[in-house]
């Protein structure tokens, strides 16, 4: 992966950068520059890429964040924001000539306001900690990435993370009320609050999912939801992925929006069953887990409807969770799918495309062909309700050429997703991983308009360069208008 050429003068200035950062963040442990300690930060969840940062700074206050960013802006040093470092797309991959700005010390829940159904938290708080803090009072925070015990809410905002519940409850972006945000110029802005739908341009909306390219999130106000009265799950095995896919379509077409609707293919079922003995049907080609939550009377009613649909589509095994323990057991295999696959293969590479759901059989078929061509196995877990695929490509990094093959295979899968009307990434972000694939989905003019946003926030490209865009255009150049007055007088244009 090609990264921007490190800037030699910055590398030479390293000690002075460390010195300046120490002045801004004088607390013990606030600045890390010992190579051994820096190694902790050398990668994120996409471990194939590693790079020691120039230096790591761990500020504790918004003011300190503002000082660091202003310093970067003014002195030309690049900066990479970092939450818990679980990104699967290399969003938090350090730069040799860049400061890694970690938000780990922003780890407090500032306010829980149940009457207004929200919580105000610092960005380093983990996703799960929010739900845990309010569980006793009957509330939770809905988006639930599988990494929720580790990932930070700030990282969730930056990646617009999802989870199995987003079919019904939305992604991070649909569950935010407010942000505090520091611009590269060191200005602090507050967007939203405890109210809905702020006027003016939806800066909070565009910051969400911006992968650290626009500024640093220093406070988040999230929407809390009451815990559903009941949740029950169905476990359904099918002879073909078509039948499972048809079932998903029929459920949604029937007006039912389950809390979660997940599919696994045969290799994933076998890996998960071997790992945690969840009782999955080993003769099935495809497994569906469908969770319904809400008021008891409703869940009863919908369980019956879903079961009838599945039987009609030829489910050859069907179980309904009788109690909470059984529901958890149904999920155990799905939730452990990644580590389970990790056990049957030395390495795996997790992809994240989204497709229109009806394309599933076609895409799975093509994936099987590719798997044969590349000589690499693939296991699929799939947020079936919203079309988000997670193919896990199995490989062995110690076998020469395997990683490159896995990457090429992965890229081909993502191109296929775009070809059938889908997108490159459903929840893991572009980062460095999918950066060079952006032109598969977007024309230069589309990317130029996206970059107008970058230019409005960070015209000098100090924030997380080398991520998301294959090429960052000079903002002055990008701003120039390309209009020929000579196209007048537009004879085709109806006038009145």
């Amino acid at each position: 992966m090609r990264m921007p050429e490190p800037d030699a003068t910055t590398l030479d200035r390293r000690l002075s950068v460390v010195h300046e950062l120490r002045r801004m963040v004088p607390e013990p442990g606030g600045v890390i520059h010992d190579p051994d300690e820096l190694a902790v930060y050398e990668c994120d969840g996409l471990t194939a890429y590693r790079q020691l940062p120039l230096v790591v700074v761990l500020p504790q206050t918004t003011r300190q964040v503002a000082q660091v960013l202003k310093y970067c802006h003014e002195t030309g040093v690049k900066v990479v924001p970092r939450g818990a470092g679980t990104s699967l797309s290399g969003g938090a991959l350090p730069l040799a000539d860049g400061i890694t700005l970690g938000l780990g010390k922003f780890n407090r829940i500032l306010e829980v306001d149940l009457e207004n159904r929200c919580a105000v938290v610092q960005p380093g708080v983990t996703n799960l900690a929010i739900s845990t803090a309010v569980a006793g009072q009957g509330f939770y925070y809905a988006p639930d990435p599988s990494s929720q015990i580790a990932c930070s809410i700030g990282g969730n905002v930056a990646e617009n993370s999802g989870g199995v519940h987003c079919l019904k409850y939305g992604l991070t972006t649909n569950n935010l009320l407010g942000l505090e945000f520091v611009t590269i110029e060191g200005e602090v802005i507050r967007l939203g609050g405890k109210h809905l739908d702020s006027p003016g341009y939806d800066l909070m909306g565009v910051i969400t999912g911006s992968e650290g390219l626009l500024g640093v999130v220093t406070e988040v106000t999230v929407r809390l939801l009451p815990t559903p009265a009941t949740a029950r799950a169905l476990l359904m095995g099918f002879e073909s992925s078509e039948a499972a896919g048809d079932t998903v379509t029929a459920i949604i077409a029937g007006g039912i929006i389950p809390a979660g609707l997940e599919m696994m293919d045969r290799p994933a079922i076998h890996a998960a069953e071997a790992f945690c003995h969840a009782g999955y049907p080993l003769d099935a080609e495809a497994l569906l887990i469908c969770e319904l939550d809400g008021p008891e009377a409703e869940v009863e009613h919908l369980i019956e409807q879903v079961a009838a649909i599945a039987r009609g589509k030829g489910a050859n095994s069907l179980r309904v969770s009788a109690d909470e323990a059984e529901r958890q057991a149904f999920w155990a295999g799905r939730k452990a799918a990644f580590p389970a696959v990790g056990r049957i293969s030395p390495d795996y590479y997790c992809m994240d495309g989204t497709i229109p759901r009806h394309q599933l059989p076609h895409v799975l078929g093509r994936m099987r062909q590719m798997s044969a061509e590349y000589g690499l196995d693939v296991a699929n877990v799939f947020h079936a309700g919203d079309g988000n695929l997670h193919p896990l490509i199995l490989f062995d990094a110690n076998r020469p050429g395997d990683l490159e093959k896995a990457e090429a295979f992965g890229a081909e899968i993502l191109k296929l997703c775009v070809e059938v009307g889908g997108v490159l990434t459903g929840e893991h972000g572009v980062g460095v991983e999918k950066r060079d694939l952006m032109p598969v989905m977007f024309e230069p003019v589309d990317l130029a308009h996206q970059q107008q946003v970058k230019c409005a926030f960070d015209p000098r490209h100090r924030l997380n360069p080398g991520k998301m865009f294959p090429e960052l255009h000079n903002c002055a150049e990008l701003g120039r208008l390309h209009v020929s007055g000579g196209r007048m007088p537009f004879p085709d244009l109806p006038r009145f």
Binding site: N116, D197, G205, V206, P356, H449, Q452, A456, R487, R495
Partner: protein
């Protein structure tokens, strides 16, 4: 206004914007014009009318996705969805009657670009939450696309969010792709009678925090309730009793069960509760959605405030103290306050000062002057003013997408192009 351009294709939209750009003359962008009376009066020399850009090009009910040209009439979208037992989740208001025109008009883009959601916004999200992708022509006279057609997509910056709420100042949308929602089997609305505003909003808050999956939650003070076309509501209002309304939707047995549960759970706040069924409920929620209960007198100024839900009543009361004769209602469990301010304040600032001061003193939020005479809308900030840093960022975004301020110049704020 020198001319109206009516492009029938996206290419012609590019031509129209290119022409305006070359000449440096701003354009007013309109669909059917149903919301033209909202916002600051624009500085425009020509009108870009998108009402010829119509047609649903993709609708896959089983995938909950609909794509149509920007000028597709609202009625056509609603009919197509209804035929498949689906709807737009964000419940877009029809402000025709409130703004003194006919009801039932408007276009697809006109429902999304202002980012105004109705009562169901509380539980289902705003237009911005349902815009999956779009095609547009920016103020650079360049056609481009953003987003996609799938439910989950984090590929690049989320420009959809910027377009919803832009009021046409960042680009001319030519095609929109939306996430749609199945229609629930049925609904029921529980009415609690005779609560004060404070207790009413407390009841709404408690219901929202409970297990009954409330879809919409509003409180109508007696004087406003009395104007309803729903008999039970009007009767209570006429007796001087406020009406607190909670809507539940879903399969029949579940709805009945939850409506019962709500009444039980809130019995300590109100012993006096009754239910209304689907059709009557639809009438009531439409009255709330479209603020028709506040439409008369026609010269009254209409403000739409978004606030911390539990603070709705204290804000409204602070405003009534300062602007006597103001009437209002609460939607979004208290978080959306609709106010009708007496028309004679239009001579001054239309209440902008007292309203925004009350917001600042009671937990923040924002106020939009939704209806007022043109002269007033030229004089006061129609949209909540932004702080210095946010305004500077917004200005840079505006210039990035529309460097010469060709599109809807002046609609959001007083603005001039760079030299």
């Amino acid at each position: 206004m020198s001319e109206t351009l009516k492009p029938a294709t996206a290419d012609q939209v590019v031509d129209a914007v290119a022409q305006a750009l070359a000449a440096g003359t701003p354009l007013e962008v309109v669909g059917q014009g149903s919301k033209r009376a909202i916002g600051r009066p624009m500085e425009a020399e020509s009108r870009l009318d998108l009402s010829k850009l119509t047609g649903i090009s993709l609708y896959e009910p089983a995938e909950l996705v609909l794509r149509a040209a920007a000028g597709t009439p609202r009625a056509e979208i609603e009919a197509a969805l209804a035929a498949e037992r689906q709807r737009l989740a964000f419940d877009p208001p029809d402000l025709g009657a409130l703004l003194g025109g006919p009801a039932g008009r408007g276009t697809l883009a006109g429902m999304v670009v202002p980012n105004l959601g109705g009562p169901r916004r509380l539980s289902a999200g705003a237009p911005r939450d349902h815009l999956l992708g779009y095609k547009a022509v920016s103020g650079r006279a360049e056609a481009y696309k953003a987003g996609g057609r799938v439910m989950k997509n984090v590929t690049g910056f989320d420009l959809c969010k910027l377009m919803a709420g832009s009021w046409g100042t960042l680009g001319v949308l030519t095609e929109l792709t939306l996430k749609v929602q199945p229609l629930p089997e049925t609904s029921r609305t529980v009415l609690l009678l005779g609560l004060t505003d404070g207790l009413g909003v407390r009841a709404l808050s408690r219901a929202m925090g409970g297990p009954h999956e409330v879809a919409a939650a509003a409180h109508l003070p007696a004087g406003v309730a009395a104007l309803s076309k729903v008999a039970a509501v009007a009767r209570a209002g006429a007796e001087g009793r406020a009406v607190t309304a909670l809507k539940v939707e879903g399969p029949g047995p579940s709805v009945a069960h939850r409506a019962g549960g709500l009444k039980t759970d809130l019995a300590d706040l109100s012993a006096d509760a009754e239910d209304i069924h689907d059709a009557q409920g639809a009438t009531l929620w439409q009255e709330i959605r479209d603020a028709t209960l506040l439409a008369e007198p026609a010269e009254g100024l209409i403000w739409r405030l978004s606030v911390t839900p539990m603070r709705g009543p204290e804000i409204a009361h602070a405003i009534v103290q300062r602007l006597p004769g103001t009437r209002g209602l609460y939607d979004w469990a208290g978080g959306l306050v609709w106010l009708a301010v007496p028309g004679d304040t239009a001579q001054g600032d239309g209440g902008a000062g007292p309203i925004r001061r009350a917001l600042a003193e009671h937990g923040g939020g924002h106020a939009l002057l939704l209806r007022g005479p043109e002269a007033l809308r030229a004089r006061v900030a129609v949209f909540q003013p932004e702080d210095r840093v946010t305004a500077a960022l917004s200005r840079r975004l505006r210039l990035g997408f529309d460097p010469r301020l060709i599109l809807n110049r002046g609609r959001l704020i007083a603005e001039q192009p760079e030299e």
